[in-house]
Symmetry: D2
Amino acid sequence: MIKVGIVGGTGYTGVELLRLLAQHPEVKLTAITSRTEAGMPVVEMFPSLRGRVDLKFTTPDEAKLNECDAVFFATPHGVAMAQAKELLANNVKVLDLAADFRLKDVKEFSKWYGMEHGCPEILAEAVYGLPEINREAIKKARVVGLAGCYPTSVQLGLAPLLSPKSTGGKHLIDGTHIISDSKSGTSGAGRKAEIGTLLSEASDNFKAYSVKGHRHLPEIEQGLKAIAGHEQIGLTFVPHLTPMIRGIHSTLYVRLADAGKDVDYQKLYETFYKDEPFVDVMPAGSHPETRSVRGSNGIRIAIHRPGGGDTLVILVVEDNLVKGASGQGVQCLNLMFGLPETTGLTQIAVSP
Amino acid sequence: MIKVGIVGGTGYTGVELLRLLAQHPEVKLTAITSRTEAGMPVVEMFPSLRGRVDLKFTTPDEAKLNECDAVFFATPHGVAMAQAKELLANNVKVLDLAADFRLKDVKEFSKWYGMEHGCPEILAEAVYGLPEINREAIKKARVVGLAGCYPTSVQLGLAPLLSPKSTGGKHLIDGTHIISDSKSGTSGAGRKAEIGTLLSEASDNFKAYSVKGHRHLPEIEQGLKAIAGHEQIGLTFVPHLTPMIRGIHSTLYVRLADAGKDVDYQKLYETFYKDEPFVDVMPAGSHPETRSVRGSNGIRIAIHRPGGGDTLVILVVEDNLVKGASGQGVQCLNLMFGLPETTGLTQIAVSP
Amino acid sequence: MIKVGIVGGTGYTGVELLRLLAQHPEVKLTAITSRTEAGMPVVEMFPSLRGRVDLKFTTPDEAKLNECDAVFFATPHGVAMAQAKELLANNVKVLDLAADFRLKDVKEFSKWYGMEHGCPEILAEAVYGLPEINREAIKKARVVGLAGCYPTSVQLGLAPLLSPKSTGGKHLIDGTHIISDSKSGTSGAGRKAEIGTLLSEASDNFKAYSVKGHRHLPEIEQGLKAIAGHEQIGLTFVPHLTPMIRGIHSTLYVRLADAGKDVDYQKLYETFYKDEPFVDVMPAGSHPETRSVRGSNGIRIAIHRPGGGDTLVILVVEDNLVKGASGQGVQCLNLMFGLPETTGLTQIAVSP
Amino acid sequence: MIKVGIVGGTGYTGVELLRLLAQHPEVKLTAITSRTEAGMPVVEMFPSLRGRVDLKFTTPDEAKLNECDAVFFATPHGVAMAQAKELLANNVKVLDLAADFRLKDVKEFSKWYGMEHGCPEILAEAVYGLPEINREAIKKARVVGLAGCYPTSVQLGLAPLLSPKSTGGKHLIDGTHIISDSKSGTSGAGRKAEIGTLLSEASDNFKAYSVKGHRHLPEIEQGLKAIAGHEQIGLTFVPHLTPMIRGIHSTLYVRLADAGKDVDYQKLYETFYKDEPFVDVMPAGSHPETRSVRGSNGIRIAIHRPGGGDTLVILVVEDNLVKGASGQGVQCLNLMFGLPETTGLTQIAVSP
């Protein structure tokens, strides 16, 4: 059994990790920390886990994280970078659900997150946690910076159009003017006391936010450049808040380049993802629904070319807390410990 | 492996059976019927099952239900009673999610369901499918009429107050004036094209319905009388439609009789349910939330005695599609085939 | 024009007052205070008012409230009692939307609100703001403590059963065991940064709360005793949180006394409320929906006697922010200034 | 008083017309027709109107529509075209909320609506009902084909970029590759018994639909060409279903042409709409929310240019049932009868 600890378990990615790991046949949860709630049984905060998780929140000291095999950080940015060094020194693998190990450029990190990066040397070895793109590197990684929720949907939605494996190196699309119109449920904002995501505010309502620039923009651009193997990538990314709990729907718009006008995109996507257990390329003409992946680690993609024109529309759905966060974390954990990638991740979506 | 067929798989209890049975280690789904959709892959209607269920809907004839070990009816009332006889003759066990085998009195059935009962002789042997009350009988049953969604919450919420096992035969409460104020999500109304449960109608809205008399009233009264072992039971049952998909919350009000004034009800409930894998008596003072059982087979109960007065308030939550329908069906299936009762039912609630 | 100021305008009752008063033909809004937001245009916080309200939030000092004709307190309890004296000394009428002037017994106030009452002498002259019960007193009042949201629904739902005007002094019901199972949208919890009412927590969910004892319990009991003219009143009050923004639905259960068994309750209610502009006794058999009063000052009531038995079920709906708060405030304002009671309150519910 | 009749009053645009017209000071509602519900009081179907509308649904014959001054068609397409001729012959003005008089090209109509157009000669004189674009023509019109819900948001969102009045004839943007990512609440699908818009299906869910081609696409393209005064317009239009009742949010993406790179777009929009009573150009950096116009006839627009690049993002919100349908109908009615344009349309949005 892999001994796993969770730092910062009182948020939504924390409780989702608990839900997944409590059902994982090869994992033993040994500790979950929360400075503010130390001593409280986890089930007091999360009654959905009654009968299934008997841990209490503990202080980081009591948690003996150094004795774990792996530690997840389900914390705000800034925490994992402060603790990773010691854990690694103790041969504990680190998986960060926040942004500490995503952006490779520490200046970009500082610009978007408003703080100096605390451990550039670990950042240098950290692997970006998006298995469908980065599988082999993750297998060998000691530190994984898990892909963000929006970035997962956008990158997997675009990879077949950009990856040389798929395109043979041709520029099928104008990569400099990609549009991602993304919509998220409110759980993406976290379990934080804020007025803007009260039911009274966010229900029966729809709005865009952070149009000026969202922290996931540099992460997505970095990822797309890595996938494409070139720098000619430009993205307009507009996130929206949708009155639902879970789910991300990214509607992606790309303009075809001349080299891309005669391609069968349905086939391109099906081929690219044919061996992926969690990526489902839906039949041509489909409209994936976020509920079809609610509570599961799946991501579903549909490709449209309206009117046969030169604009491609790609629809992508995922559960932001599973494939967009904790499920992806477990997927990486499986890879890092040599387990079958789907271990503990076979939940079927709860629908309706 | 138990070979299982489903009749009428296009409704919510049908798709929920599919979700549960596709994850059940001892079940092989062999057929799912739908006259109207015969030939359509199940996943076309229910994309949440893509990659997990590869059946097509078939006509009842093609389904070869007689070769199954067990058949679920996820149909409107009237269907199971027409087909049960032949199935039983072929040694197929029958589990009906509708009302055909719930009410023991055929006159009551006719009164509330507006049709003659088609097979009183099978009704006579049918067992009421509420395992916490009826476990031994279910184990031996050939035909099970699964308890309704509201009735499950009300009966399990009241059983410790009425069952002689628990009360020692004393009348702790005035059983003639029980009040059940019950609230259900809209999935309880089924997957039917109706105006009243459109999102535009039912969202951001709350209402009671069927106050004059709901079909679950006679079922609950029959059940409570059976539990109590006497006939002095009278119930005011008011169901309400809540703007959510899944979940039932029953708020039960009973007035204590003299013999019931000095009882420790927290302890009474904990004792009564101490060995039940799916019933969770929450700590004193709790307010169970429907989401804490969303997608799981659990039922959570809390007992209150406001101001120490003579009115007891019992709060009960369940997922109407799981413990209130399909999960309970699988629980009974397990019992009928000698499997551990929790087989295939270990999903943790999806929350948030 | 009546010059009106609002203290504490950043909550939901504040913005609802603004919506109603901005459409009121006899009111001139002169000031709205908020210590924390002083200087900010109101429409920056509440864009729904753009083009209709051009005030800025001001400090109480700048607001010159002493020059108003009337001041509303849309504040937490404790604020109105601290400022009422000076306002009254300047001939300013006071309407408090919080609890400072509701409970007549200062000990009860202290018990439920955890603080000493700051001005018992003003409390003594304060009038309870429930026009259908207290109209004449409100007309002459200098200080009105507006009825709470739940209490409005429960009292108006029960008044015809208790008021000697209606009963002729007979005890139609057992007043000592009334049950109010009440459901509220989340706006009743106010515009406060709290985890429990986040969309991620409260949506697709249902729960009871404060079963042990809610602050509205003593207010309702005091009100019912005043209506009945006797002290034999006992209430079990269980509030629930419903996943919607606005609306209260109270389901009331009373047991008929012998003297009440032959009464035509439909007629009793219709007679009692026949001249009330905002109370709608619906046809027998109706199930009022909260959306039917969304955004309006109406309250709708339906009376049921299931199975002709001795339990009466009364269904009551209101918009908690209008008839349950700000609309009732405007209704009282109209009375206090000799205007037709419906002035500025003729909005039709927004439905769907 | 203007005598107004409504044909087909049982849908959402019908009940919304009733809400608005019942509060309109210059309108007398004389008839509302429904073949299926003839004889039923309107308030039985729409209790929100109790006490405010005392009409019954009548058959078209009983309705004496020929004696009206104006008749609204709140019907599916195909109805208005069949009845308009006779009404016009009787000097009755016609306002159609459906699509009969929107598309000028009868072949396009046939292609998208699957039927022959029944009265091309009336179509020829019909005026497109979008007052901010077409005000003078509407004033003189006998027949108005009211703009669709999505088309209103897209056209008003783009008009300042395309209209020669605003651009001086310059091509500020690449009009051939406009993207409209639009989101609608479920009321846009109408009050029809359908599975796809049940709360159980559409709640806590998000999806695109009709990506292949939506009926509003040709309407929008026709409108944009008319506004621009040229034919180089191409649109990718992707509608989405959002789990809310009312509201449309269109996120528009356009690429700036060279001539458009130095324009102050905030100022351009503010200038273009400076005299419009219902169009609100929000401050730079704003994110309009659909709830800020819920129940009102307003439309709010914000302009963004992320990173100062060459992609412009325009955010537009409206209430699909008001500015997107019935409110716009009343606005046109006011123009056609020489009333101030805002008469009866001064409702403030209900928010929260």
